[in-house]
């Protein structure tokens, strides 16, 4: 090797090494086999933060009965879960909303066929400060509260004060569901405060007398000493309904949603065993124990 070549090699070699390291780090995000063979001993569930507690309770109970199978549960959000399903990095995706058309198209491009199973139901409770005199609201009033900046508490039967509107972040499945179901697909007003977590909404509603927010039924019932749950009327002529297991299950409480698990294709092997367990009597008892509503 002559001098010049040596010099070039000296420059090229280290840069190549670092480049290779950098590239492995970037592409290294594992693409594991979404294998559904009966030999599978390890199931991953990823998705909705709303469902993490439920999914891990299922996993725990399931692993007690099937000691040779391991189920791991991670959150991140429904969108994250669906993205993972599309990339083949999870076996099961937990989602608190239906898969979007765009995501479905993307899935078919990647030759993945999302199979939807409704596993539980969740009611969304509207909460206010305990001192707030307002007891019940219609869906229409709720929609106005969350979209119209000029609305005051006096417009819906309260004191003549402004309304402090609290919402979940736009990344939350609950945000989208509330927007679709209650706001009738209108945009939230821009002044709405977007809180990063359910606990932050409970915390704020329990200290701010003018606040209104929405949280999953399980969280609302757990915090019922700190916040007041509003009874909701579907329209002016229907009765006001308090959210509860019973009213969500029968469909009388108007703000309720199904919770889903998405798989790639029909359930098979170990994943099928797990899904069958979730929908069994024992599995649905876990649902009620964790504060959600059973579907079977």
């Amino acid at each position: 090797m002559n001098e010049k070549a040596k010099k070039t090699a000296k420059l090229i070699f280290p840069s190549t090494v670092t480049l290779v390291i950098a590239l492995t780090m970037m592409t290294g995000c594992s693409k594991r086999e979404g294998g559904t063979g009966s030999e599978q001993r390890f199931i991953t569930i990823k998705g909705s933060d709303t469902m993490v507690h439920l999914a891990s309770s299922w996993a725990e109970t399931f692993m007690q009965q099937n000691t040779d199978i391991e189920v791991s549960v991670t959150g991140g959000g429904s969108g994250t879960g669906i993205a993972a399903l599309l990339n083949g990095t999870t076996d099961i995706c937990a989602a608190s909303r239906k898969i979007k058309n765009k995501e479905l198209q993307l899935a078919l491009q990647k030759n993945i066929h999302p199979h939807e199973i409704a596993v539980a139901k969740d009611g969304i409770a509207v909460v206010v400060h305990p001192d707030n005199p307002v007891k019940e609201l219609t869906l229409e009033q709720l929609s106005k509260i969350f979209t119209d900046k000029s609305l005051r508490w006096s417009n819906v039967g309260g004191a003549d004060k402004e309304i402090l509107v609290l919402s979940r972040e736009s990344s939350s499945g609950t945000y989208v569901f509330f927007q679709e179901m209650v706001l009738k697909k209108q945009d939230y007003m821009q002044d709405a405060k977007l809180m990063p977590a359910t606990s932050a909404i409970i915390q704020s509603v329990s200290t701010d007398k003018l606040a209104i927010g929405y949280v999953g039924l399980g969280y609302a019932l757990a915090a019922k000493d700190k916040v007041k749950i509003i009874a909701v009327k579907a329209d002016d002529n229907s009765p006001a309904v308090m959210p509860s297991d019973q009213t969500v299950k029968t469909g009388h409480y108007p703000i309720a949603r199904p919770l889903f698990m998405y798989l790639n294709g029909e359930p098979q092997g170990t994943v099928k065993t797990f899904m069958d367990f979730c929908l069994s009597a024992a599995g649905q008892k876990v649902v009620t124990d964790t504060g959600y509503v059973a579907v079977r």
Binding site: P14, I21, S78, A83, L164, E169, S170, S171, L194, S204
Partner: protein, 290 residues
């Protein structure tokens, strides 16, 4: 000549590790730029100039960056205004006036403040600071730009204190001696001679502090209310660029317009911190040479 060869090999390996960070910075620019570039192609960069950030909508999704940029600017400006007097005051006291024992107590505490995880500071903000701001200023809610700014100032102050203190200490003793010999008092010497002489270092410290502030995410996200509105009032809620990325990245559909818009936010943020760092480096160089 085996030893020489070995030495060369070690040299190469060290060079490789040293150049890694350059490659990573370039890699980040390329990958973030690639996603953001696709946004420029499809809906076009004009979309980013709007004053509405409403990425999840059944009506019309809008990706106007103005409320996010003004939100970040407002919080950063307020935090800087709070940081400067506290940071410089503390640095002057520790370097010029404190007794050695005082210094030994003060310095570790300021360093501990720097080490507190930002989520913990954010939690403290949500539970203590937000209700406090609400009652002190008689607001309907304490979830405001001011709350975010106070928390950010808490995080920036340690950086500013330790770098400014370093700058003030390295002012040559002859300057101070000359000033004192001319009959100036101790305070006059500090404010008229020492601090001005250390100014480039102090400015660099503030720049680095702002760099930390503008990139901070968790604490801000927990206390500013995150409403994407354009405002100049410290008592309004704001949504910063960092909070937007952190809050929305988790749920966004891969490859969607919203996904790419978030990368555009990232580019703006990257350029802002990049610019601040370059300015800070300029000032640091000046003070090291002077």
């Amino acid at each position: 000549m085996k030893a020489a060869w070995k030495e060369k090999a070690i040299r190469l390996m060290l060079f490789a590790t040293a150049s890694t960070s350059i490659l990573i910075v370039i890699g980040i620019f390329v990958f973030v730029g690639k996603e953001a570039g696709q946004f420029a192609v499809k809906p076009g960069l004009k979309e980013l100039l709007g004053s509405r950030w409403m990425p999840v909508s059944f009506q019309k999704e809008s990706f106007g960056l103005l409320p996010l940029i003004t939100g970040s600017l407002l919080v950063t400006a307020l935090a800087t205004a709070l940081t400067i007097p506290f940071g410089i005051g503390a640095a002057v006291y520790i370097s010029e006036l404190a007794r050695p024992t005082e210094r030994e107590i003060l310095k570790p505490f300021i360093e501990i403040l720097a080490g507190i995880p930002s989520v913990v500071i954010g939690f403290f903000g949500l539970v203590v600071l937000v209700p406090l701001i609400k009652s002190v200023f008689n607001l309907s809610t304490g979830l405001t730009a001011l709350a975010g700014a106070v928390l950010l100032a808490l995080m920036a102050i340690p950086t500013v204190v330790s770098i400014s203190e370093d700058a003030i200490r390295s002012v040559p003793a002859s300057y101070k001696a000359a000033s004192l010999a001319l009959g100036a008092s101790k305070m006059q010497t500090i404010w008229k001679v020492t601090v001005p002489a250390a100014l480039p270092g102090i400015v660099a410290a503030i720049m680095l502090g702002i760099g930390r502030v503008i990139g901070e995410t968790m604490a801000v996200m927990m206390v500013t209310g995150n409403a994407a509105i354009i405002t100049a009032s410290p008592f309004d809620s704001v949504r910063t660029m960092t909070a937007t990325i952190a809050a929305e990245m988790g749920e966004v559909a891969f490859g969607s317009i919203h996904y790419r818009a978030l990368f555009c936010v990232g580019i703006v943020l990257l350029l802002a911190t990049f610019g601040l760092n370059i300015i800070a480096q300029k000032f640091l160089k000046k003070y090291r040479m002077g």
